[in-house]
């Protein structure tokens, strides 16, 4: 960052060299800044909005995690109390376990399955079918997320649901159950939503990555007799590791922070069977007005997201550049 600024400074000094005599470096920066007033004026509205609505809230959240806080009442400092309460409350272990289960599953459904699908579609020779498959991948994405969730809620319904209806039709009525209302199946039903998880941004991103690999690599690998699964593991996978990393990070973020589908499908129930920390944060803030406590859960989730993202970034290294193009 400092390097960049230095270069810009020098550029400006060079440009305005005639009018600036040998003076102190700070003075010339100052003059260059005054000369560029238009740039700052154009950026001012953007930064004013960002300061109020995008920089201030997260900083405020990090501070207020240590306060008792609710609208209309002056915040009072409570130190680490919220964190103590959260980590000693009996439901927390369950919540965190659910969160990590969801995270692991989202890795499978969001990063692994789309990769397999993309590799299969990429190897289809017939260009027309390829295009058709791409189109069919996109169609389910044209349905708003809330509609998808509400549809799946209906699919799981114990009395009117499609799954139980199907089971009864095939004489498997004994397997029918209240999928979302049963402690044993609720969390897995939430994971199963969206089956078979192939349509979505993931497959398109992988297809884009595979499309960038140079044709000569595939030819060379064909000559060496490297086909099928071996090619997938030794050629395709290493060359789209950048995309793999991206999808893994997205899965981590979704696993830790997303609770919209849980809110709509089960609201954390039955009991605490599908509760996750994000939903607890939401409940604490908007049902019991414990905004400071909620902010402290938000902070915990931020730390978890940050740590796991960092770990993924450290372990997954995209293939060397020379192999591409």
């Amino acid at each position: 960052m400092t390097e960049g600024t230095g270069a810009v400074e020098q550029g400006n000094v060079a440009e305005t060299g005639k009018s600036v005599p040998v003076g102190s470096r700070e003075l010339s920066t100052w003059q260059a800044m005054r000369r560029s007033w238009q740039a700052y004026a154009l950026l001012a509205p953007i930064f004013i909005l960002l300061l109020i609505f995008n920089y201030y809230p997260p900083i405020l959240g990090l501070l207020r995690a240590f306060y008792r806080w609710r609208p209309g009442v002056e915040a009072s400092f409570v130190g680490l109390q919220h964190f103590g309460v959260y980590f000693t409350s009996p439901e927390t272990g369950r919540e965190l376990l659910n969160m990590f289960k969801l995270l692991a599953f989202f890795f499978f459904s969001g990063a692994v399955v789309p990769f397999i699908m993309a590799v299969l579609i990429f190897r289809i020779r017939d260009t027309e079918s390829k295009e058709l498959y791409r189109l069919f991948l996109i169609i389910p994405m044209l349905v708003p997320l809330i509609v998808v969730i509400l549809l799946w809620k209906q699919i799981y319904d114990p009395n009117l649901g499609v799954i139980n209806g199907l089971l009864e039709q095939f004489g498997l009525g004994f397997l029918a159950r209240n999928w979302l209302g049963d402690t044993a199946t609720a969390l897995y039903s939430i994971m199963f939503m969206g089956f078979p998880w192939v349509s979505g941004v993931g497959t398109l991103i992988y297809l884009g990555g595979l499309g960038q690999i140079s044709e000569s690599i595939f030819d060379a690998c064909e000559v060496d007799g490297c086909t099928g699964l071996r090619r997938t593991l030794q050629i395709d996978l290493p060359l789209v590791l950048g995309q793999v990393r991206l999808m893994t990070i997205l899965a981590v973020i979704a696993g830790v922070t997303s609770f919209q589908q849980i809110l709509v499908l089960t609201d954390g129930g039955p009991g605490f069977a599908t509760m996750v920390p994000g939903l607890t944060m939401f409940h604490k803030a908007f049902r019991t007005q414990q905004f400071g406590y909620a902010a402290s859960i938000g902070m915990v989730l931020f730390v978890i997201t940050f740590a796991v993202t960092l770990a993924v970034n450290r372990t997954v290294h995209p293939a060397v550049e020379e192999v591409r193009h």
Partner: protein
């Protein structure tokens, strides 16, 4: 097999792997059909009355009950108009700020340019869970609870973060000669932005608009907590509330007896999906690019 003609479009014709290809086609087709089942059910159910829903759950049943769509529009229409109002104001502001920001960072030379740029880009890494609760408090403090501005401002303020990132890259690709000749003709900064950059960066702006429109259309948790009046509510929350009240018989004009509430409800879901379908038909290329870009923003 002539290898010369096929090299341009498809991978060069290799020794046939027929079984493998047929197997892949089958597998892909089955997976895609499975993922289309919910969409299929959504559309067929939307045309059924209570009896048809009860007895012909899987098949398309005739006559098609278009009346469901009339009943649904009466309720869903207002939510959709609200959402479109928010989208129009939010997106116009967001596009303007992204264009200006993208231009300034791509084309102007000034001290602390990179520092300021990275200060903006760093915001992409702040997860929304961290800011959700405090942002709510900030908006309440500003008296924006239950105010449409609370829906527009996040788009206006937050949209340009990714917007500037995208537009800077896009505007950097415009040839410098165009700007030079305009400068020789005495064009000011605003001319350079409005007369040269704007027309040449329309594809980038379209991608951004599509991407953010999808975001607004799907936004759920924020309007759920910010908006209390049903008359101002956005589509996603509107559908959520409709689904809850419809099944408990609380929607005026809808008979909740004998499964007849489901047809209009699903018709509402279909109507709510139409803007995204329309967007895809009109701007398909930008739609896909936008979705892929949204994934690449991390």
């Amino acid at each position: 097999m002539s290898t010369t003609t096929s090299t341009q479009v498809a991978p060069p014709a290799r020794r046939p792997l027929r079984y493998y290809q047929i197997g892949s086609h089958l597998f892909i087709a089955v997976m895609l059909l499975l993922s289309l089942i919910p969409t299929y059910l959504l559309i067929t159910w939307s045309f059924k009355n209570g009896l048809q829903y009860r007895w012909e759950r899987w098949a398309i049943s005739f006559p098609l009950r278009w009346r469901n769509y009339v009943a649904a529009w009466d309720i869903v229409g207002d939510y959709m108009i609200n959402t479109i109002i928010v989208a129009i104001f939010g997106l116009m502001g967001m596009l303007l700020l992204s264009l200006i920001g993208g231009y300034v960072f791509a084309r102007m030379d000034f001290p602390f340019r990179e520092t300021l740029y990275y200060a903006i880009i760093a915001l992409l890494m702040v997860p929304w869970v961290l800011s959700f609760i405090p942002a709510y408090m900030v908006y309440v403090r500003l008296g924006l609870l239950n105010n449409r501005l609370a829906l527009i401002i996040p788009e206006l303020a937050g949209g340009p973060i990714f917007g500037i990132f995208l537009m800077r890259a896009f505007i950097s690709g415009i040839p410098e000669e165009l700007y030079e000749s305009a400068r020789c003709d005495g064009a000011g900064v605003l001319d350079l932005i409005g007369r040269i950059t704007l027309p040449l960066s329309l594809p980038g702006l379209a991608t951004l608009a599509v991407l953010n429109f999808i975001g607004v259309w799907n936004s759920f948790l924020w309007p759920l907590v910010m908006i209390q009046d049903d008359e101002k509510q956005m589509i996603a929350v509107g559908l959520y509330k409709l689904a809850r009240s419809a099944t408990s018989g609380g929607v005026p004009g809808w008979t909740s007896q004998d499964f007849s509430v489901w047809g209009p409800l699903y018709a509402g879901y279909v109507i709510a999906s139409l803007p995204l379908v329309l967007l895809f038909i009109l701007l398909g290329k930008f739609y896909v690019e936008g979705l892929v870009d949204s994934g690449l923003k991390v």
